[in-house]
């Protein structure tokens, strides 16, 4: 259906400045009906800013916006909606106190006077069913996992009969299966003539779905190419301004002594029967569909939601981890999956965020902060992880998602952990940063740190891990060795078919 017709939605020579940051400079992009247009760029390249201009949240400093050949001004999100433009934002924006169905329909302009609950529930059910997710539409959105929230966001956008659908990293918190479901849907929409703008940092996905690929760098448009002419290598080169390799498998590590032994771990009804060992220098991957309970295992190990069954032994000594401090005292660190809600103090500086968990180290005898020492530490990490900021005094709120992620990683590295639990460490960060994180993981493992890598990015898990633990519906279903773990076995185990036949849950050594 990709026709050489006029674009339905077009932005020309857009510029936008935030204080000292030129977020966008002379950017033009054209979306065509029935076409998936991918937008790539490093963190902070200006992708989200462009999207916010498209949906009327920001006004451009310069430039024109044209819809179906006419110049328009988009003054507000509601106006964008009236023009048939809808967006799924990078960070899910749900109303925690409203139920799922209402979240889907609340922003509809033509809802009439009375709330038809019954009809609303039915329509929400059918939209979600089409999406392939089963979610109780009557339950409040509070407490939904990020993936579930993302599904609701998608349902919300679909429920509006849009001409232009913008998706800002919709797959960031989805695992392969949900991604497949989502793509089926995106193709459906495309075939119905919707113009789709698709932002993602996962190149495999981009090249699976996109008809056109546009790359931004530092707020400027670098290239727009049809799918046929674009390759991942070229895209990466455009993004980072140099050649860069793709995901490299990490060479297997020699196991050091055992750090952690987990037996029969569980928490009332949420997950159970988790058993594994992890050794110095080892990377243990956690795979599973969203909601499989991987995060919950992480939370239990970090003492946030203490386990109620089973045992945890550190260095052979059984311990009770009932608070993050106890876990930290044992050398455990946990990088959470939700950096805005759980990870960072956004209105504070990079330095203050990095030193927070071990603030005591930066205090003098009077309990006052040794600012120099703090800054020095933060500076080290800024250099080491290439955090893009003019100084470590910059507020974290001002950073792009990827750079925020790096701050969070710095924060936990600075606790000098022996076991580092990384929950979706590369979610929402660009290829460059991702490669850096991967390099980091290698380096840390070589230093002898044990790493528990929870990730929904299956290629990543497979490339980085020495062993892969697979979870399904709160249960551990398999631990696969590096050699026996491939996409197919892991997915099969995660989805519960022939799991037993393929990969019998091996007893931990």
């Amino acid at each position: 259906m990709t026709g050489p017709t006029d674009p339905i939605f077009e932005l020309r020579n857009i510029a936008k400045r935030f204080g000292a940051t030129q977020a966008l400079e002379d950017v033009s992009i054209a979306l065509h009906a029935g076409e998936v247009h991918a937008l790539l760029g490093e963190n902070g390249a200006g992708k989200s800013t462009l999207i916010k201009i498209m949906t009327g949240i920001h006004r451009p400093d310069r430039g024109q916006i044209r819809l179906a050949g006419r110049d328009i001004v988009i003054g507000s999100a509601a106006e964008a909606q009236r023009h048939g433009i809808a967006a799924i934002y990078q960070e899910p924006l749900l109303f925690p106190d409203l139920n799922v169905a209402e979240n889907i329909f609340i922003s509809h302009q033509d809802r009439g006077l009375l709330t038809g609950w019954g009809q609303m529930f039915r329509r929400a059910d059918s939209i979600l069913a089409a999406l392939g997710v089963e979610l109780d539409v009557r339950s409040p959105a509070r407490g939904l996992t990020l993936a579930a929230q993302q599904s609701v966001e998608i349902a919300k956008a679909i429920s509006l009969n849009v001409r232009v659908l913008i998706m800002d990293e919709p797959t960031a918190s989805l695992s392969a299966h949900e991604v497949a479901q989502l793509f089926k849907l995106v193709r459906d929409l495309r075939d119905r003539g919707v113009a789709i703008l698709f932002v993602s940092h996962r190149l495999e996905e981009v090249f699976e779905i996109a008809d056109k690929v546009t790359v931004f760098r530092d707020g400027r448009l670098i290239s727009t190419r049809p799918r046929a002419e674009a390759t991942p290598q070229r895209a990466i080169a455009d993004m980072v301004g140099r050649e860069m390799g793709l995901l490299q498998p990490r060479p297997g590590a020699k196991r050091g002594e055992r750090i952690l032994a987990v037996r029969g771990l569980g928490r009332g009804g949420v997950f159970q029967g988790v058993e594994f060992d992890i050794h110095r220098g080892e990377v243990l991957g956690f795979a599973g569909l969203v909601g499989a309970g991987r995060t919950d295992v992480g939370l239990a190990l970090f003492g946030i939601e203490p386990a109620t069954e089973g045992s945890i032994a550190v260095d052979g000594e059984e311990v009770s981890l009932r608070s993050p401090r106890q876990a930290m005292a044992r050398g455990i660190a946990y990088l959470s999956e939700d950096r805005r809600q759980l990870g960072l103090s956004l209105p504070m500086s990079i330095a203050a965020n990095i030193t927070l968990p071990v603030l005591a180290r930066y205090l003098n005898r009077l309990g006052l902060i040794r600012a120099e020492m703090e800054r020095a530490t933060a500076e080290t990490y800024r250099k080491r992880l290439a955090i893009r900021a003019s100084s470590v005094e910059v507020l974290v709120a001002k950073l792009s998602g990827g750079n925020q992620q790096k701050v969070m990683l710095s924060k936990w590295l600075n606790t000098h952990p022996r076991l580092l639990i990384l929950d979706e460490p590369t979610r929402g960060i660009d290829v460059g940063a991702k490669a850096e994180v991967h390099a980091m993981i290698r380096e840390l493992a070589e230093e002898g740190i044990a790493i528990l890598l929870i990730s929904s990015d299956l290629p990543e898990v497979l490339a980085m891990s020495d062993r892969v633990l697979v979870m399904r519906e709160g249960r551990q279903v398999a631990i696969l060795d590096r050699d026996s773990a491939d996409q197919e076995t892991v997915m099969t185990a995660a989805m519960g078919q022939e799991a037993a036949a393929h990969a019998p849950a091996e007893a931990p050594a």
Binding site: P324, A327, S345, P347, A360, L368
Partner: protein, 321 residues
């Protein structure tokens, strides 16, 4: 020095306001610049501004303590009751402080360990602690304290300066250092702007919250006792209704009611603005409701005007480019 570096935006505005008010007072009243009047200017509101210091910490932390004025009353009444029942004055004073600390701990327990909203808990405290104070003194007025106690509140002890003012100055410095330079202050801010992130970073949030409420209770008790010394006698309604004035001071200082932002320079300036304004109006024979109305209007305008200015400025910029 680091404190001075924070002088910008809001604080700048307060400074301009302060200069204007002082200038007006100087030209309008011949009595304004007298040493006696300057001391009085502080002395008449001294207890409120002392309590405003710990209130600043609490509000930055994302909580609030509506019960402070009742705790002031409670501490004074406990002191009065103990003294009346034969306790030596120092013990009676300690008893008053302890009562304040206990009330603060009670608030803190429900907020930090049970997880109730502080607005609700301290609203109950506002009613309840006042009630306990009244149980102790009923409808009587307890006076007749040792002369040294009355002197603390009523006469300048350090040159022209009273003990209360000295206490305020010292507390201000301590709170400034805690808030802006100490690890605890850092935690206060982090908890205020993202409690979950603090928890996920291993910050011991419950003890931290509890200690803030205890500090608030103790400080309110201290202020209540100083007020008792200034008045020379204690009744059940001591300091009644002070909570709104105290909160007004803190908010005018630029501390966000939602927690996580604000600083003590702003609060210090806000104190000076309100005190000088009140004093100027008092000398101009403007009292009662008119005074509170003016301060209410100031509170609103101080946020409204910068907002309008910002809107105008950004519109202007938009046209320029």
């Amino acid at each position: 020095m680091r404190l001075l570096a924070r002088l910008r935006g809001w604080e700048g505005l307060l400074l301009v306001l302060l200069v204007a008010i002082v200038a007006m007072n100087v030209t309008r009243s011949p009595y304004y610049l007298g040493v006696e009047n300057i001391v009085n200017l502080f002395q008449l509101e001294i207890e409120k501004i002392i309590v405003a210091l710990t209130m600043t910490l609490l509000i930055i932390n994302g909580e609030i303590d509506l019960s402070v004025a009742s705790i002031m009353g409670l501490a004074a009444c406990v002191m009065a009751w103990l003294f009346r029942h034969g306790a030596p004055m120092p013990w009676a004073l300690l008893g008053g402080l302890a009562a304040g600390g206990a009330a603060g701990a009670f608030n803190g327990f429900w907020v930090a360990y049970v997880g109730l909203p502080s607005l609700a808990v301290t609203l109950a405290g506002l009613i309840g602690y006042r009630g306990v104070a009244r149980i102790l003194v009923e409808d009587r007025s307890y006076g007749g304290y040792p002369a040294w106690f009355d002197a603390i509140g009523q006469q300048p002890q350090l040159g022209p300066v009273t003990v209360s003012i000295a206490v305020f100055a010292v507390l201000f410095a301590i709170v400034a250092v805690i808030l802006h330079d100490s690890g605890f202050g850092r935690i206060v801010y982090v908890m205020g702007n993202n409690l979950q992130a603090a928890r996920y970073s291993g910050v011991r949030i419950k003890p931290a919250k509890l200690s803030l409420f205890v500090a608030s209770g103790l400080n309110a008790a201290l202020a209540g006792l100083l007020y008792a010394a200034r008045l020379g006698s204690v009744r059940g309604d001591l300091a009644q209704g002070f909570e709104l004035d105290i909160i007004t001071i803190v908010l005018l200082g630029g501390v966000s009611i939602f927690g996580g932002s604000g600083n003590l320079v702003g609060v210090g300036l806000s104190i000076l603005v309100i005190l000088n304004l009140r004093n100027g109006m008092g000398l101009a024979d403007i009292t009662g409701n008119t005074q509170t109305s003016v301060i209410g209007a100031l509170l609103i305008l101080s946020v409204l005007i910068p907002n309008i200015a910002q809107t105008v400025r950004s519109n202007w910029k938009g046209r320029e480019t």
